[in-house]
């Protein structure tokens, strides 16, 4: 199987786009990442990742409607493509297989 490589940050962004559904655009994604992953991300970093993911064909985008709060500028709204979804699933499957392969009580207990 051809494996598509995703960086850790790209994977997070891709997942976040999936989480946000219809409302996935730059600032929203950055805010969501901030909340979920607990780390501050710059908008430019998010934009760069979105751009790369679109080039890889895992995201698709269209311009939304103009809104007043952005000085009349439109948002670019992103959604995950079939390839994106497949890649996410592949990654998840692989992780699951790895989790399953860990013998019980091998990992040190936490908490």
């Amino acid at each position: 199987m051809k494996r598509s490589y995703l960086g850790e940050f790209e994977e997070l962004v891709l997942l976040t786009v999936a989480t946000l559904g219809q409302g996935a655009y730059g600032v929203a994604i950055a805010d969501e990442l901030d909340q979920q992953a607990g780390r501050p991300v710059s908008i430019s970093a998010v934009h760069a990742a979105l751009h790369r993911l679109e080039e890889k064909g895992m995201l698709t985008s269209h311009m939304g409607d103009a809104t007043a709060e952005r000085g009349g500028r439109r948002k670019r709204l992103f959604s995950v493509t079939a390839l994106g979804s497949r890649t996410l699933h592949d990654i998840r499957d692989m992780r699951n297989r790895l989790w399953d392969a860990i013998a019980p009580n091998t990992l040190p207990a936490i908490g």
Binding site: G26, V27, S44, H47, R70, G71, R73, R74, R76
Partner: protein
């Protein structure tokens, strides 16, 4: 507008760098974040955060433009450049007069520049072609003897070989003896006088990169009485025969066997020998203080000349002390204690042509000053041509303003308009370049004749010259075009299209100051030319102290040997001959003079040693040349005691401090040994005469009584010169087979100032060109003004203005810049010419009327130029001019 805005500069920055297709979303996101931050943290932090985030967007993905989506034709795309050139071409055709003025001006400027560039490159290329040029030095003598500086181009005969033997840094030493440079060279029955003969060490052709056509570099000059000829000399004597193995006779030195032929020495060499004999053919004096020979050394790679220089005092101590004791009767330390010095210096060979002005140079050298002067002139003429272009473009801006307005409305950026105007100036420059090359091609023979050079057109088209010329033309195009381009492209479309545009009023003062600059340069050049010519006239007509008219010099009379007496008495029998003399020195020519050590007290080694010029003359000398006696008497053949008599000139009397010169005694030191010292009695004093050029103050001179047949002067009195010359030649040929060579004293005298005369002529030509270019510009400007004021002139005429008053009205504007230019140029030119005159011991005073004349000339020329246009405009029927709309 919302009160709370992110920083404007950050917004602009983003606008500028961010790819257009990303801009909207990026701006939107940043703005949204800004609003939130402002709400949470306040305005200052939000603004700072915004700026920071803009900066973080400086990433490749944001910078990269999307191809094809929104096709913008950027300024330098091939399609646009093609369009620029088309438009430029059409504009040139539409304004044929101004295009012609621009192109002519630039072509003249460029042609002058190219020719001066040839001259400058040639001057700077002297001796650089030798393979080891960077390590080659000439060894010279530098010293101080009794207050007189000693700077001689040659050095002691044994110095070179000693250096090569004792100092490891020296790779090779080559010595060249050129002190007797003129020989009568005979092959069979044919003989010619050769003026460029030298004798050189056998490694001459290894040291200097002068290729041998026949013979091997190391072999040709190893045997005594062997000689190599240059190509032209070989052809002269041997035609198409192979000269190698044949023989020629060199004057009194006897038979020489030809061992090789070398290529003619390139013009950019500080010597030009045609015949080089082996140094072993000569008997050299092996002394340190009384011998001299050109000495060239080659250092080993990476050996600094300073290391060698540091060893020189030691060398002088070792070798010169004993000789000094013998020659001057003092020890080296005493000699030095009296403020004297003697050492050897080293000149890089590449510096000789432009920087060295020592005694006994192989040839007169060039002067760095003239390289500078002519480079500056070239730059000025080019600058003037560029100014024409700027002035005419901005003056014509009214015509272009509407075009600029329409282009801007249709979406042209300023950058695109600048590109368009620059391509116009480029087009003009390159057309001018083509014409300039044609001009150079045609004018080069004349230039060569004037400047005494032999440049070829192909030198311009060789090697690095082409790219250099193209690149500089590009720069000139940019320089000339940049101001008009920015000026024209900055018009505001709204005001231009509404017709509120003021015709070139904004740039009027600039145009006037540029015209002022042009006339400053022109007036400066006129002043320079006038002063150079006045000085030339002065030195050619100053009383020289002898009568230089009607004096014929016969050269090389020493070849007559013991037949001199017979020759002279034959001459005296001729009715046209007034008197004949022979002597070691005739004014304004090669000389057989020497420099003698003179003391005023008998044999006292502590007495001051004078080092003065001297030569031998006979008793007819002062009569033949018409030199006046100030005191005492001439030599008398009837007085046997006159063998130890001397004549001095007034300068010598002053130098020696004699109150009553006649009857005083002086001692010539000779070579230093007690028996070579001789006593002389002063019998007369000659009025000072200019025996050297006006560059030098008249030096003290001592004339001994004796036969020296080096040269002969004949005072003649005839109108039928050709017949006399024929008679003289017949008499000469009866005595000897050698060629009969003669010259006229006044011509020789003028020839001394050849280089000044050349400078004068070139200055005159360049001044003419400068004024021509400046006037072209003025002509164009006047045409514009007349055109612009057509209607005004019409109205004035209808209301009763006379033609004269209209002409005055139109010309007045142009007088002011010329007057201002005169005021600025006068002190600058005065200073420059004052510096130039310092080179002459005898010089004119710079008088005020020179400046007045230059100013009057400039004003007259400017008025003439302008009035052509103003009169034309003033004469137009007002009906016609008022009808035009």
């Amino acid at each position: 507008m919302l009160p709370n805005q992110p920083p404007r500069w950050a917004d602009r920055l983003l606008d500028w760098f961010c790819a257009p297709h990303l801009l909207e979303e990026v701006q939107g996101d940043l703005y949204e974040r800004f609003l939130r931050n402002e709400r949470l943290f306040g305005l200052p932090i939000a603004r700072r955060q915004y700026a920071w985030e803009v900066i973080t967007f400086l990433r490749p993905f944001a910078l990269k433009r999307q191809p094809g989506e929104q096709s913008t034709t950027y300024t330098l795309s091939p399609a646009m450049i093609r369009n620029y050139l088309t438009v430029a071409w059409r504009n040139l055709l539409r304004n044929k007069t101004f295009a012609a003025i621009n192109i002519t001006g630039l072509a003249v400027g460029l042609a002058t520049c190219l020719m001066i560039m040839l001259y400058v490159m040639h001057e700077l290329s002297y001796d650089r072609y030798h393979a080891k040029a960077d390590r080659m030095y000439r060894m010279t003598i530098i010293g101080q003897v009794e207050g007189k500086a000693l700077n001689i181009a040659y050095c002691s005969v044994p110095a070179g070989p000693t250096l090569a033997n004792d100092y490891p840094g020296v790779e090779a030493v080559t010595r060249v003896d050129n002190r007797q440079g003129t020989f009568i060279v005979t092959r069979g029955t044919e003989s010619f006088k050769e003026e460029h003969v030298a004798h050189a060490d056998s490694n001459f052709f290894d040291t200097f990169s002068i290729p041998l056509l026949k013979g091997r570099a190391g072999d040709v000059l190893t045997q005594p009485n062997t000689v190599v000829l240059n190509e032209s000399t070989a052809r002269k004597y041997f035609g198409n025969e192979d000269p190698v193995g044949q023989t020629v006779t060199l004057g009194t030195l006897g038979l020489y066997r030809v061992t090789g032929v070398f290529k003619d020495i390139p013009s950019n060499t500080h010597f030009h020998y045609n015949i080089i004999g082996s140094l072993r053919s000569l008997k050299l004096r092996d002394t340190w203080l009384s011998s001299g020979i050109m000495t060239y050394i080659v250092l080993r790679p990476n050996f600094a000349i300073s290391q060698l220089e540091a060893r020189i005092p030691e060398m002088v101590r070792k070798h010169i002390s004993s000789e000094m004791k013998q020659l001057l009767g003092v020890s080296l330390s005493d000699f030095q204690q009296k403020g004297n010095s003697f050492r050897f210096g080293f000149q890089p060979i590449t510096d000789i042509h432009l920087h060295s002005h020592l005694e006994e140079e192989a040839e007169p050298n060039g002067d760095l000053k003239y390289v500078y002067i002519f480079s500056v002139i070239a730059v000025f003429i080019l600058l003037l041509a560029c100014i024409n272009f700027m002035n005419l473009s901005t003056a014509g801006s009214a015509k272009r303003a509407r075009e600029v307005g329409v282009r801007k409305v249709l979406g042209s950026h300023q950058g695109q308009l600048i590109g368009q105007f620059l391509s116009e100036s480029m087009l003009v420059t390159f057309m001018a370049l083509v014409i300039a090359l044609g001009l150079v091609f045609m004018a080069l023979p004349v230039f060569n004749q004037l400047a005494g050079t032999d440049f070829t057109f192909s030198a311009l088209l060789s090697g690095r010259m082409i790219p250099a010329i193209l690149l500089s033309s590009l720069l000139i195009g940019l320089l000339a075009g940049s101001y008009p381009a920015f000026f024209l492209s900055s018009f505001k479309p709204v005001s231009v299209l509404k017709g509120r545009f003021q015709t070139g009023a904004r740039s009027g003062w600039l145009r006037h100051s540029l015209v002022t600059v042009q006339f400053m340069v022109s007036i400066g050049m006129i002043i320079g030319t006038l002063i150079v010519y006045r000085q030339l006239h002065f030195i050619q007509h100053k009383k020289v102290g002898f009568d230089k008219e009607q004096v014929l010099m016969v050269h090389d009379t020493y070849t007559l040997g013991d037949k001199t007496g017979a020759f002279k008495s034959e001459l005296r029998r001729l009715a046209q001959v007034v008197d004949v003399t022979s002597g070691g020195y005739m004014p304004a020519g090669p000389s057989n003079h020497s420099v003698d050590g003179i003391r005023l007290e008998d044999g006292n080694p502590q007495a001051t040693l004078y080092r003065e010029k001297s030569f031998y003359i006979d008793d007819r000398y002062i009569h033949t040349l018409g030199i006046a006696l100030a005191q005492g008497r001439n030599f008398l053949p009837a007085h046997p005691a006159d063998q130890s008599a001397v004549l001095l000139n007034e300068a010598a009397v002053k130098r020696f401090g004699f109150k009553q010169p006649v009857g005083q005694q002086i001692w010539a030191v000779g070579d230093g040994s007690p028996n070579s010292q001789r006593r002389y009695t002063v019998v007369g004093v000659l009025k000072d005469f200019h025996f050297e050029s006006m560059h030098e103050a008249i030096a003290p001179l001592i004339m001994f009584y004796g036969e020296d047949n080096y040269q002969m002067a004949i005072r003649i009195r005839t109108d039928k010169l050709p017949e006399l010359l024929k008679t003289l030649e017949t008499i000469w040929k009866a005595q000897t087979n050698n060629p009969f060579a003669y010259s006229f004293l006044n011509e020789r005298f003028n020839a001394m100032y050849q280089s000044e005369e050349r400078v004068g002529k070139l200055f005159g030509i360049f001044a003419g060109l400068t004024i021509f270019v400046a006037c072209l510009g003025l002509f164009g400007l006047a045409a514009f003004t007349a055109q612009r004021r057509t209607k005004e002139i019409g109205v004035r005429k209808v209301l009763g203005a006379s033609v004269a008053s209209v002409v005055v009205l139109l010309s007045r504007d142009f007088l002011k810049p010329v007057l201002i230019a005169l005021v600025i140029a006068t002190p600058v030119a005065w200073y420059g010419m004052h510096q130039w005159l310092q080179d002459f011991a005898y010089r004119i005073n710079v008088e005020w009327w020179v400046f007045a004349l230059a100013g009057a000339l400039a004003i007259a020329i400017a008025l003439l130029t302008v009035s052509f246009q103003s009169i034309k405009a003033a004469l137009v029927n007002p009906v016609k001019s008022l009808k035009t709309e």
